[in-house]
């Protein structure tokens, strides 16, 4: 029998309906009985009235049924429109935005880029200390500012102090002059440099009028950057010009009156190098460099970390040694102090953070720079 048929058959229908109602009544009675048994048991077992306490408490926890409040009587959006003052930046922030703002502001949350900020902070601190170490002629051909490289280098080197690759790369650099070490992403491209031996005097002169030209002690190549390149000082540039073109070298825009012959001694390279190495070997403590500048101090304090690879370095005395910060950095008293006037203070341009992220520099540069600093 289908539902559609039911209206047609009258008596059957009513009977059916009666039947349905009967069944329904049975079910409802069942439910009521069930409830009665439940209640009766609760009464007899003594737990029926457990949810009732004295009138006072009952009033206190009564269900609240007002608009705008929840059943406990608490307001939901109470703090939404309030503003809080940030303890860090002293700004007024909306309450619902306060927590995310603090995360960014204090640099402590997960999404706060705190690594980048930390690097920023340490860069600002270190940029002054590294200004004297920019005289590294090994970096003829790189595109980044030296300071950024050095700092990134330092970090990388600190990380990989004991990696077997390290000594390999150092030897590699020493052995190969001018070959592009393109396989290693951390090396610079040395190919862009120019070897002064290949150029004639006229070419050299013209080259030197437009470009930096400071000769890297390692690769014997001249720096192809502009005359104001931050990696080399004017002293170095003067020294190179004197060396290549004679004492009557054209004057640089900012020529220093530095004692030039002392600053650039290729013939004495070996002696100088041995001196460098020897001078370098004792452990230098910051306290020893009382006479050096603060900047040298910084480099000295960092040097113990880089002490490992130094003995394996074959340092060529190159250009620019003389233009280091004056004063004997740390420790070694056997070499007489070079009577060099202190170079003009040089400041690096603040490195681009983007570049900084990508730079991973070999240790040797920093070592060389630090070594020169001690002279």
């Amino acid at each position: 029998m289908k539902m559609e048929d039911m209206p047609l058959s009258g008596p059957d229908n009513t009977k059916l309906e009666a039947l349905v109602n009967d069944i329904y009544s049975e079910l409802v009675e069942d439910a009521c009985l069930g409830l009665c048994f439940e209640v009766h048991r609760a009464v007899k077992q003594g737990y029926f009235f457990l949810d009732e306490t004295d009138q006072e408490s009952m009033k206190e926890f009564e269900i609240v049924d007002q608009p705008g409040v929840d059943i406990f009587g608490q307001v939901y959006n109470q703090w939404k429109n309030k503003e809080c003052e940030c303890p860090n930046c002293k700004r007024l922030i909306a309450a619902s935005r306060f927590a995310p703002h603090l995360e960014k502001c204090l640099g402590m949350g997960r999404n706060s880029s705190r690594i980048a900020n930390r690097r920023l902070a340490s860069n600002n601190n270190m940029s002054k200390s590294e200004s004297d170490q920019e005289d590294n002629d090994d970096l003829n051909d790189n595109d980044w500012s030296y300071g950024a490289e050095k700092r990134a280098k330092k970090r990388k080197s600190d990380k990989s102090q004991t990696s077997p690759r390290r000594s390999k790369t150092l030897k590699h650099k020493n052995g190969e002059l001018g070959s592009g070490i393109s396989a290693d992403p951390y090396k610079y491209n040395y190919n862009a440099g120019i070897n002064y031996e290949m150029l004639g005097p006229d070419e050299v002169q013209s080259f030197l009028t437009t470009q930096c030209g400071v000769i890297s002690e390692h690769t014997k190549k001249m720096c192809t950057r502009s005359q104001r390149c931050p990696q080399h000082t004017d002293e170095q540039r003067m020294a190179v010009r004197v060396f290549l073109l004679g004492p009557s070298a054209p004057v640089l825009p900012e020529a220093d009156s530095v004692a030039v012959p002392e600053s650039f001694d290729i013939p004495d390279g070996q002696a100088l190098m041995s001196r460098l190495q020897w001078e370098d070997s004792p452990e230098i403590s910051p306290s020893d460099s009382a006479s050096s500048k603060a900047s040298t101090n910084h480099s000295d304090s960092r040097r113990p970390k880089k002490k490992k690879p130094r003995p394996s370095l074959g340092l060529n005395s190159g250009g620019g040694i003389g233009s280091l910060s004056g004063g004997g950095g740390g420790g070694s008293s056997q070499i007489s102090e070079r009577p060099l006037p202190p170079p003009p203070p040089q400041r690096l341009c603040i490195p681009n953070i983007r570049k900084l992220k990508n730079t991973v520099t070999p240790t040797r540069e920093m070592v060389a720079g630090a070594v020169k600093n001690c002279l």
Binding site: V20, Y24, L27, E29, C32
Partner: protein, 95 residues
């Protein structure tokens, strides 16, 4: 009448056999709790108990007091739904 009672018996049997009766019971109980009927009835029970005295309440007392009120207090929606389900069952399984 015989036919009727026979029909009724058959259907009841069918309901129980196929488990539909239990399902309907559970459905009803759930719906009644949901709509607050149970709490209402409990409150009424409390009154009855207070009236009769906690120690002397019997099941009969409660049944007598509760069942009529219970039947009356079932919400219409619940009633309608249940009736519909029963009818559907009958339509499906009746001869």
């Amino acid at each position: 009448m015989n036919k009727e009672s026979r029909l009724k018996a058959t259907i009841n049997q069918r309901l129980t056999e196929l488990g539909e009766r239990e399902r309907l019971k559970e459905l009803l109980r759930a719906k009644l709790t949901e709509c607050g009927w149970k709490d209402q009835m409990k409150a009424h029970c409390k009154e009855v108990i207070r009236e009769k005295g906690l120690e002397h309440v019997t099941v009969e007392d409660l049944v007598v007091e509760i069942t009529p009120k219970g039947r009356a207090l079932v919400p219409d929606s619940v009633k309608k739904e249940l009736l519909q389900r029963i009818r559907a069952f009958l339509a499906q399984h009746a001869a």
